[in-house]
């Protein structure tokens, strides 16, 4: 190993990021090279000096008042938080009754659960990787760009839902709208700030394999909900799209957001393909129960208006 190699890897050596074999090679070189030893000592001193400076700078530390206040806030939050698990959804019996209604209406398409479950997982993956962690393989594009390339559905979502949505449990505010790809599937992606968390609305066009025939007499506005990978998920479908809501919030809160936007959103999306006009079926009637194939899923009736 040459001096130049050692200098190149010196900081990674100090950060203990090198392979054991490489560490040994560097140590062997240092045994015989006082110049590199001095260089390494300088880098180590700089690193340690930075740590000391950072950790003792008086203007960077938290005040005792803030630390005490935060601790109290956290303790109160822990006491008030609902227990995770079955007790989380107080309206469970009502939901169960609606499940029976949905089944009775013949609106649960169990045969499609595997395919739709995969879609729901893709939606949750998109929420996690795009809205929370910003690490998609492909850069998101604007909805206008997506509209030009992939269809008018994306243009509708530039204005719909509106930037400020009122729900029964509080406001939701749009932070961002774009189109992105996750796991090979393109979504229109709208990120809300809702209940203090980023929550995603993801709309994806449904290809022929997923398309369902609309029952003309369907009156119930039904969606599915459940949890995937610790995320709450709510979904409904329009004539040509699957719509997902995903976020790390209580399932009932996510349902309230879905309730607030589903009808106008469904109408707007259906207007892009003229289904409502062509078939005489109102857009609000184009929603389906959908078995996501996920643990704890159930079909839930949304309040239409």
């Amino acid at each position: 190993m040459e001096c130049r190699d050692v200098r190149e890897m010196a900081d990674s050596f100090l950060a203990e990021e090198l392979l054991t074999e490489t560490n040994h090679e560097i140590l062997r070189h240092l045994d015989t090279c006082p110049v590199c030893r001095t260089d390494l000592d300088g880098r180590r001193a700089l690193r340690e000096g930075m740590q000391r400076a950072f950790h003792r700078a008086p203007n960077l530390g938290p005040s005792p008042e803030f630390a005490a206040r935060l601790r109290t806030t956290l303790q109160n939050t822990a006491q008030q938080a609902p227990a995770r698990g079955g007790a989380r959804f107080p309206g469970w019996w009502a939901l169960a009754a609606t499940v029976l209604l949905a089944v009775a209406l013949g609106l649960v398409y169990r045969g499609r659960s595997a395919a739709t479950g995969a879609l729901a997982r893709a939606a949750v993956g998109d929420h996690r990787n795009c809205a929370l962690q910003f690490r998609l393989a492909e850069k998101p594009i604007s909805l206008e760009n997506a509209a030009q390339r992939f269809g008018t559905m994306y243009r509708v979502l530039e204005k719909l839902p509106p930037d400020d949505v009122a729900t029964a449990v509080g406001p939701a505010q749009v932070l961002e709208r774009h189109s992105c790809v996750y796991d090979g599937r393109r979504f229109a992606h709208i990120v809300f700030r809702y209940r203090g968390e980023p929550v995603s609305l993801l709309v994806t066009a449904v290809d022929g394999a997923f398309r369902l025939t609309l029952p003309g007499d369907a009156r119930a506005h039904v969606t599915s909900s459940g949890r995937i990978d610790d995320m709450s998920v709510v979904s409904f479908r329009t004539s040509r799209q699957m719509v997902f809501f995903a976020g790390d919030i209580a399932q009932n809160d996510l349902l309230k957001l879905a309730e607030a936007v589903s009808i106008p959103l469904s109408r707007g999306l259906s207007a892009t393909d003229g289904v409502g006009a062509r078939s005489g079926i109102g857009a609000s009637e184009d929603m389906y129960a959908l078995d996501l194939g996920i643990v704890g899923s159930s079909a839930i009736r949304l309040q239409a208006r």
């Binding site: 900081d11 700089l46 400076a53 700078a57 938290p62 803030f66 806030t73 929370l132 932070l175 790390d248």
Partner: protein
């Protein structure tokens, strides 16, 4: 029901207090360094800790809690910046900052805390981030990549370039200081 859930809540908070709260000082220093504003830093840390508490069931005991908290802090920062319209969809400072690094003079032996933090504060923010997370907070490259949501290779290249910029800044600033002292 409330009486039954209380012990569980206490247990959660106790575990959180043992595992996460000891990192408050270092987390706050990070937030202060990034935000340069005490009120902003307090908001950021409070939101981070609230998220951490609510997601504490996801924390794997035995893993690096400080790295986990740092990742949450960075996620909260990004969401807040995005809400304020400060960041583009994909922020890659390496596209904007020149690839060339200046001549690196030797780093002086005697440096004060002010010299070090002053020089660090003068290099571009993306380089400050990786240097602070690596050299000060001692996160691994992988943990830094996860926290900043950037590829591992970008972490390494930013560290390399950032350290060169830092050394250049330290050399230049202390040379200037010496010459000013000599004039006096």
């Amino acid at each position: 029901m409330a009486q039954k859930s209380a012990p569980a809540a206490d247990q959660v908070f106790t575990a959180f207090e043992v595992e996460a709260l000891p990192h408050l000082d270092r987390l706050f220093r990070l937030a202060m360094w990034f935000e340069r504003n005490r009120a902003e830093a307090e908001d950021l840390v409070q939101e981070t800790m609230m998220h951490a508490l609510q997601s504490f069931h996801r924390f794997q005991p035995g893993t690096n809690c400080r790295a986990w908290l740092t990742t949450i802090l960075q996620n909260v920062r990004r969401n807040r910046r995005r809400a304020r319209g400060r960041s583009p969809l994909v922020d890659d400072p390496d596209d904007r900052i020149g690839q060339a690094t200046p001549f690196v003079p030797p780093v002086p032996q005697e440096l004060t805390d002010e010299d070090l933090l002053g020089a660090l504060g003068r290099i571009p923010a993306p380089y400050q981030e990786v240097i602070v997370l690596c050299d000060v907070e001692e996160l691994t490259y992988k943990e830094i990549a996860d926290a900043l949501a950037i590829p591992l290779g970008t972490v390494m290249s930013r560290l390399h370039r950032g350290r060169a910029l830092l050394r250049a800044e330290l050399g230049a600033s202390t040379q200037g200081l010496r010459s000013r002292r000599a004039e006096i």
